[in-house]
Structure formats: C-alpha cells, structure tokens
C-alpha cells in the first residue's frame, strides 16, 4: 500500500505540471489572435464611440468633446438629417425586402432542384438539368461586388444599349428616358434587385444541402400520407429547414445593412439621385471623406446600435426548440 502510494505520488505532481505547461501552450496560440482582435476590431469600436462625441475632422489634433451634439445634428439639422433619415429608412426597407425575397426565391429554387421534379416511381428528384442550374445560379457568388455593380450598370443603362431597355423594346415598351437608376423613386428597387440576384445562388446551394440532409423516407411517408407537393413543402420541408432559414436571415440582414458598395458603384452621386439610395455605409463614407470624421463615427455608432437591436430581436423572436433529424 505505502509502496504504491510513494510510487504514484510523483507522477501526479508531474502530471499537473505538464497540464500547466499544456495550458500555456494553448494560451500561446490564443495570444496573437486575441491581441489582433483587440487592437484591430475592438479598439476602433471603442474609438468610434469616443470620436463620435467630439468635433474631430479627421486631421485636427485639437478636437474637443462636444457630448451628444453630433447625434442631435444628425437627426435634426437639415444639413445632416437629409442624409441620415433616408439612409435609415432605406436600410430598414432593404432589411425586410432583401432577406424575404432572397429566402423565398432560394427556397423555391432549392425545392425545385432537389424534390421538385417528376415524382413518378416515388424517388424524389429535382427538375431536369438541376446540376447545371445549380452551377448557373451560384455564379454571381464568385463575382466581386464591384464586378456585379459594373455589370448591372450596363444592364440598367439609360439608352437603347442597356440590356433592360433592349429587352423591354422587344415587347414594345418605349425607352425610359429618365433611366433606371436616375429615377429617385426607382433607384432603391433597382439596387435591391441586384442584391437579391447576387445572393440567391448562394442561399439556394445552402438550402439545397440542408434539404439533402432530410431523410428521403420522411418525404416518402408524407407522400403515402397523401401530402401534395405544395403541402409537403409547407408542412415538412419548411419546418425542417427552420434553423437554416434563421441563419440565412441573419446573414442577409447584415448584407442588407451594408449595400454600400453597390450604391457607391451604381447610383448617381453615390446615394442619389435626390438621396433616393442613401445607405448608412454611404453616409458614413461621405461624412468621412468630407472632413467630418466625428459625424461619420456618430453614424457608425447609430448603425452599431441599429444592428445590435435587430440581431437581438431576431434571435429572440425565432428562438424555438431544435429539431433533430
């Protein structure tokens, strides 16, 4: 007894020492990424909060603390609110329309590609050529946003060489003289179409793989239970994809809150005409490049809280019991 105790004691001490060493080893891997995250992500966040309450223009070292003056100006002063208010409105619209449209279209395509084909003989399969369509629809995903912007600029051209105008001409629709993106009431719709177009492919593939993980027997059971294709979609497929849809919604929300690059490339006056396509990111950029860095920071802070609220809200509203397949 005492012999074994004597023998077993040293290894235990050695073990804890080796454990401590292992912890240091693990920590050493974490130091660099955590430090980078602190310096490059969190500290700018904190600084943005700080600068948003000053009159910093981006270069003056003698900036002063002004409290919430900048925020007040953004919402009330005609000079600033003409940017911020439409931007908030547009981002809110995009936040609803873009995820809804993308998810609806992606789900429809994914369903068609996976289980929408002829079902004679019971085997669930997609429509003919589904492998080809999958690649085709995914294509926008490999293009950079700048490419997409330029591509659609060409499609939306206001003269008869624009693809959209040329197509409409075939059906005898007269040339729209004001152009597509230079009409303040249309420009936001036009931008949203591009956002939807560029996202649908990715989410179609995403939902496809989620659908593929639903066992075929469940579809077969539903078929035998007398469920039509539409009923199967709404009563079986959709509820089982709930988690994927929620994830997609959050990602698409983030995309919708941005939209800056497309607006910047495609629209006149980068947010025009007549503030018809202002987005938060664009407003921030404009203030910053006009020597109003503090204002830009204030917009960033507003966007931060806007996003935070939305995410908390959507997580809260869509919380529910997980479904195991």
């Amino acid at each position: 007894m005492s012999d074994t105790a004597k023998v077993s004691a040293p290894p235990r001490r050695r073990k804890s020492a080796s454990k401590r060493r292992a912890n240091w080893f693990v920590a050493s891997f974490l130091v660099l990424p955590v430090a980078l995250y602190l310096i490059l992500v969190l500290s700018p966040f904190a600084q943005a909060f700080q600068f948003s309450m000053t009159n910093w223009n981006g270069t003056n070292p003698d900036y002063k603390f002004v409290g919430l003056e900048n925020f007040k100006k953004l919402f009330t002063s005609d000079l600033y609110s003409v940017y911020l208010i439409p931007a908030l409105k547009h981002n809110a619209i995009m936040l609803i329309v873009v995820p809804l449209a993308v998810i609806a279209l992606a789900l429809f395509f994914a369903f068609m590609l996976n289980v929408g084909g002829k079902s004679r003989g019971g085997r669930m399969r997609g429509v003919g050529g589904s492998a080809f369509y999958k690649i085709l629809f995914f294509f926008p995903q490999v293009l950079s946003v700048v490419m997409i912007g330029i591509l659609w600029q060409a499609i939306y051209r206001s003269d008869e060489y624009g693809l959209l105008n040329a197509l409409l001409a075939i059906f005898g629709v007269p040339l729209k003289s004001s152009g597509w993106v230079s009409d303040p009431s249309l420009v936001l719709v036009m931008v949203m179409i591009v956002m939807v177009w560029s996202s649908v492919g990715f989410y179609m593939v995403y939902f496809s793989s989620a659908m593929a993980s639903i066992p075929a027997e469940i579809y077969e059971a539903a078929m035998i239970d007398g469920s039509s294709r539409v009923q199967t979609f709404f009563k079986i497929t959709l509820p089982l994809l709930f988690d994927s849809i929620r994830t997609a919604w959050i990602y698409l929300g983030i995309i919708a809150l941005d939209g800056f690059a497309l607006v910047f490339i495609m629209t006149p006056q980068q947010g025009g005409p007549d503030h018809g396509s202002e987005v938060m990111g664009g407003v921030m950029y404009n203030f910053f490049s006009n020597g109003q860095a503090a204002m830009a920071c204030a917009v960033g802070v507003i966007l931060f809280f806007f996003t935070l609220t939305l995410m908390a809200l959507s997580m809260r509203l869509t919380r529910r019991e997980n479904v195991e397949l």
Partner: protein, 363 residues
C-alpha cells in the same frame, strides 16, 4: 380490407439489365399477413415499395382489390407504410404525426381526435401524445409509426423491416404485438424482413425471394417441411440445414457410410441429366447422436440450456474432404470439443434435391 395481387410485376432499375424484381406473381388474400423474406438485395423491399407506389412497376401490374394501381401515386392507393427507421416527422408531436394524414384528408377534428386517441390507447402511447419523436425511445417511436399507419384505417399495411432498429429483447416482444394487432384489426399486411425467424413466427404465409425471383410461397410449416429448393431449405430454419451433395447409388444416397434409402422414382429423378450425385439436406434437429453413423469431429458446441448445437466436420466420402456439419444434441449427452461423435440422420426426415438444379425431389 383488400386483396393484393402482383401480376408478373417487374422492376428494372435504369442502367441495369437484371431486374431487381423479376415477374413477381403473388396473390395475397384479404386479411392475410404475408411476409416477404430473403437475403439483402433479393428484391423484397423493392416489391413492397412497388406496392406502395414508391417504385415504378416496369412490367406487369399490381392490383389492390382488383383495381390496377400500377400507375397510381401512393396517396391514391389507400395504403399505410411503416418504415425501417420509422420516418416520423421530427418537428411534429406524436399526436400530430398520427393525425397528419387525416388532417390532409380534411377529416373532421372530432373524428381525428377520436381515432388518434383510440390508436394511442391500443399502442399504449397515451402519455406521450404531446412529445416530439426525439424524446421517445426506439420502441416508442416504432409504436408511433405503427399508430400513424393504424389511424389511417388503410386497405393494406406495408411494413419494411419495422423491427430491425430495435434491440433483441424488444424485437421479440414487438413481434408478437404486431402479429396480434394485425389479427385484431384484420387488415391485409405485407411485411418485409431479412430475418427468417420473424418470417416464420409472424406470417400466415411466407414468400421467399432470391435475386429478384420468388422462390416459394407457403405457410411457415410447409416451408420448413417441404422446401421447394436448396435455397429455401438452407434459408429457413436456424441453424441452417446441413445440405450436402453425395454420391447417388441405385437404391439411395450414400451419406458417408450410411445409405439414405430413396424410392426408385426419386433415384430416377435425381439421376436426370446423367447426374451421379444427389443433394441431401438434413436439419440439425433431425440427427441423432448414436454409436454408429457418420463420424463428426466436434469443433464448437453452442450450449442453449435446453439443448445444444454441435458444430463439427465430417468426411462424407464425396471427394469434398471434411465438410461442416451441425447437429442438435439433447440435454444429457453433450459431446466435448475435439471428440468424435457418430450421428445418424432420422429416417424419412431428409430432404432430397437435384444436384444440379437444386429442385426438390418429392417422395
């Protein structure tokens, strides 16, 4: 309630010349419990899925109550199916799972409720109606799958290996429950399994399949006593029948130094096509350990309590060397490993098959 008829029904998968189910002819009577059994890949599941409408009928036809359903979608066939992995809807409660088909048919709420409650009572699921499938045990899920089929009150029940995901004890228990439930409901049932014990114990009749071809359909007892060919003989019964090809003489089969006497007609039938040998099958339970007979060197003894199975090797003098042999030994006289025992096949209990075609040669 309905009859089911397969009329030369075939299923040929695209890209394959060999039919998965080859001209299946089968008549299932109203209220019958028919078991389709065979090794994996024999086409039993495909046959069932053809009846369900989940597989095409490429040739021939399938009739339910004299109505050709070959080209009807599953929902128009009025059948209910129990899947091997149950295929319960994971996002629905037990109640919703069972009510789903009725809801789709726009059955009045009160009737749905009554039927689900009734089935739940029958299957002892009343306490679990509000649970989701993931909160149930395997046996409970299996019962929910059964319940989902029962509430439909279909013409035919289809069951695709519904017990193979259960543990051994539960399987035996559920086996008898399903059989008695079927008897009580009186619904025509087609049941697929690879387990010949399940087939023997549950089916009114058993259809044995191999390579897409129906081998024999008969009552379990008839399959056991008069298997139509070597495959059926070897497949039904556990442990499997000892099937040996031995020299044929003018008066019988030379089984080692024992002669199994055959009638003149049998000898003539066995010798057809110039055969010099004959295939003889003896079940382990139809051999007796005696002082004389075929010498078997014991290699393994499976002690089951009431009796024991003795596995060994025997020279049968047919030029094949030592061949495997299984014998059932009664309680008292269990041989030891390495021992040489002598066994005698019981007279009249042997099965005779043609050595080449494997077909049974009747007495």
């Amino acid at each position: 309630m309905a009859t089911v008829t397969y009329k030369a029904a075939s299923r040929i998968y695209p890209g394959s010349d060999k039919p998965a189910v080859n001209k299946l002819d089968l008549e299932i009577a109203d209220g019958e419990f028919l078991v389709l059994v065979g090794p994996s890949g024999c086409g039993k599941s495909t046959s069932l899925r053809m009846l369900a409408g989940l597989e095409d009928v490429d040739e021939g036809a399938i009739l339910i109550d004299d109505r050709d359903v070959s080209n009807l979608p599953p929902k128009a066939r009025d059948i209910a199916m129990v899947f091997q992995n149950y295929a319960l809807y994971p996002h629905m409660t037990v109640y919703e799972n069972m009510a789903f088909a009725l809801k789709l048919r726009k059955t009045p709420k009160a009737e749905i409720d009554a039927r689900v409650k009734e089935a739940a009572e029958l299957l002892q699921l009343e306490d679990y109606l509000k649970r989701k499938p993931k909160a149930l045990s395997g046996g409970q899920r299996q019962r929910v799958a059964m319940g989902r089929a029962i509430v439909r009150q279909p013409q035919v029940f289809l069951m695709d290996e519904p017990l193979s995901n259960l543990d051994a004890k539960l399987r035996v228990q559920t086996r008898s429950q399903i059989a008695s439930l079927q008897k009580r409901l009186g619904v025509t049932t087609v049941y697929v399994t690879h387990d010949q014990v399940e087939a023997m114990t549950m089916g009114h009749r058993v259809a044995v399949m191999l390579d897409g071809l129906l081998q024999q359909v008969d009552t379990p007892r008839a399959l056991y006593e008069t298997p139509k060919n070597v495959f059926v003989a070897g497949f039904m019964g556990s442990p499997a029948m000892n099937i040996k090809t031995v020299p044929l003489t003018d008066t019988g089969a030379k089984f080692g130094d024992t002669l199994i006497p055959l009638t003149r007609e049998q000898v003539a039938a066995a010798g057809e096509g110039g055969q010099k040998s004959v295939t003889v099958g003896v079940r382990p339970e139809h051999c007796t350990i005696a002082d004389t007979g075929i010498a078997v060197e014991v290699e393994l003894v499976e002690e089951l309590g009431s009796d024991a199975y003795v596995y060994g090797f025997a020279e049968l003098g047919n030029g094949n060397g030592a061949e495997r042999f299984v014998v059932r030994a009664q309680g008292g006289e269990i041989p030891r490993l390495g021992e040489i025992v002598h066994i005698k096949p019981q007279v009249g209990k042997e099965h005779i098959f043609h050595a080449e075609s494997g077909e049974r040669i009747a007495v």
